[in-house]
Symmetry: C2
Subunit: 394 residues, 2 copies
Amino acid sequence: MAVPNSPAFHVPPRFPRGFRCASRNVGLKPTARDLTLFVSDVEANAAAVFTRNHFPGAPIILGRETIRAGRLRGIIANSKCSNVATGDEGVRRARRMAAAAAAELGTTADRILVSSTGVIGVPLPIEKIETGVRGMSGDLQDDPLLGAEGIMTTDTHPKALSVSVGNATITWVAKGSGMIEPNMATMLAYIFTDAAFDTATLDRMLRAAVHVSFNMLSVDTDTSTSDTCAILANGHAGAVNEDDFQGALTAGCIRMTEILARDGEGAEHLIRATVRGGRDEGEARRVAKALVNSPLVKTMVHGADPNVGRLLMAVGKCFDVPVIADRTDALINGFPVVKGGMRLDFDDATVRATLSREVVDLVVDLGTGAASAVAYGCDLTKGYVEENAAYYSS
Amino acid sequence: MAVPNSPAFHVPPRFPRGFRCASRNVGLKPTARDLTLFVSDVEANAAAVFTRNHFPGAPIILGRETIRAGRLRGIIANSKCSNVATGDEGVRRARRMAAAAAAELGTTADRILVSSTGVIGVPLPIEKIETGVRGMSGDLQDDPLLGAEGIMTTDTHPKALSVSVGNATITWVAKGSGMIEPNMATMLAYIFTDAAFDTATLDRMLRAAVHVSFNMLSVDTDTSTSDTCAILANGHAGAVNEDDFQGALTAGCIRMTEILARDGEGAEHLIRATVRGGRDEGEARRVAKALVNSPLVKTMVHGADPNVGRLLMAVGKCFDVPVIADRTDALINGFPVVKGGMRLDFDDATVRATLSREVVDLVVDLGTGAASAVAYGCDLTKGYVEENAAYYSS
């Protein structure tokens, strides 16, 4: 699978043919945009993956049902209330939300994907959404950043990317990073394309891309109850070479993953942990995740300290991976710091200086095989504690 | 196995017959005590458990060899340098450290357990230790708090407990909490008794106690390369009923676990997470650990917010546990907040007020069986970030 490192992302990002979006304040929040609509002018083939949390929100329960048909006209997403832990009534309200968007767009409720983010355990103010969505089809615009702004919570900037592949365009719109809304948040990532692919192919390509991108992202180890990643393909651009499309899709998902990690709560650095030399990919993934998830590695990056001991500790606590100490090497921002499990006599000041970069690359070579993996995370700061301790859920 | 909730711990703690300790500054640190000796006047039966980290320190490698004989006269422990990632030379220096203590006590090196904590990847200043330990047998005293002080790193107070069981005494001396020394730290817990038990029984009782106490402790998910928990029984008090001893041993280990969790880096609260209604103990343990390890649960306790969504999220992300949402109940400090996976309409202000207590009890009932477990952790504060980001490893 080709993963181009630097596809030519458009500046500014734009939608593929036939896709538009709108966002509004409908009274869920005091003044900020809290309701967003993404629309294809024709039915699109679609695929989606959802959170694995055992307490999925009502929109997830409904979304799993909706996506089975593999066809979507649009997506409706609200912020402020996540419609999680709300029981059967929550699912009924999610259905009413789909129906309201469908009526506005002249389609049926089973062609609308619903997302909600925000406080959990609170009834969804469905009447405000039903009233508020009326007329939104008149607001639709070509700018994906408008939709990205509409789904923002504690994100510090709207997040959208687009790239050309053959005659087609792929556009990503996303928000959040792990549990980035301090209460019960969500990673939402929507991908739009005018390439023509059947649903089964879309599903396969989406899962392949997510496996090495969003599924390797961790801000704080906490898995939201509402995570959703969906792709819509309306076919306006006709057929596109599948390998080319997969390469661009994966590259964009990885780039969006980096953007989300860097904007993790309180984060000041993106941490990219590459593990190579594993016996299989699963082992490499677990060690890479252990590195970006270790509070002591995260604070080490925050403090710009080349603390080799913390790297070894984080690798060594992967009890289900057969780590061999004297085969283990490590590099920080390209500088070898560990060889055969022992600390090298590296130039501390030089390596320390590189840790002030916005992107910090940690590489561990397990020396036991040929498998590799990359995980994406961020540093742990007082800002993270402040955002999440100061928040009141009610 | 009986686990008395409130055994009558002695105030102040004292040693069993035949045990004493001494501590000194030998120049590893500028002025603080950095070398400690624990001694039994006769050879004691002994058992120990060590870190599972794949990069064990040299003292762990040596300790596993030493403990096989099941006999100890003493323990020598230094701070400031952990003797980890130091290769074969590190093991040689750990052996010299054991030999130096043995010479001072008139025994052989294979009867001395060695512990080192502090910076990793730095050669152990063995000459300072060899010189410094001379004459320490003349300093030995009856006060376990002196030894506890001698092994402190970032601990805010020395940690020792003792309790009577039958005619015997059990004394615990411990330091640290997870990675409490900001570089590469250690949980050390030494247990001394004058009860008479053979090595195999000691080993079995120690593992049973550690399973429900120290192994359920997590300050930051980061497993040290130097963790050691050892028990020495010199037999001066003769035989003690095994069930009584196991009960007291377990109760003391749990109490020491609570003390370590409460003194975790930057911590202001002890979090006790009880999970009941699991299908088996393993599942209950995994969910309880997920609760105390969730950064969002930890910051929720720090912020005194009864954020039910974070509790459900943390339970729900245990993908290998078959959580059934509509059977899941939860309580915060005794107040029911979740019933059947849905947030109850509890009195927010009342529950919020209880969260200012030093000890916060979270209870989750999985409703799927009869197994239970308790995990011990602490809140996540700016103090944790400050200690670990400000630290320089060299």
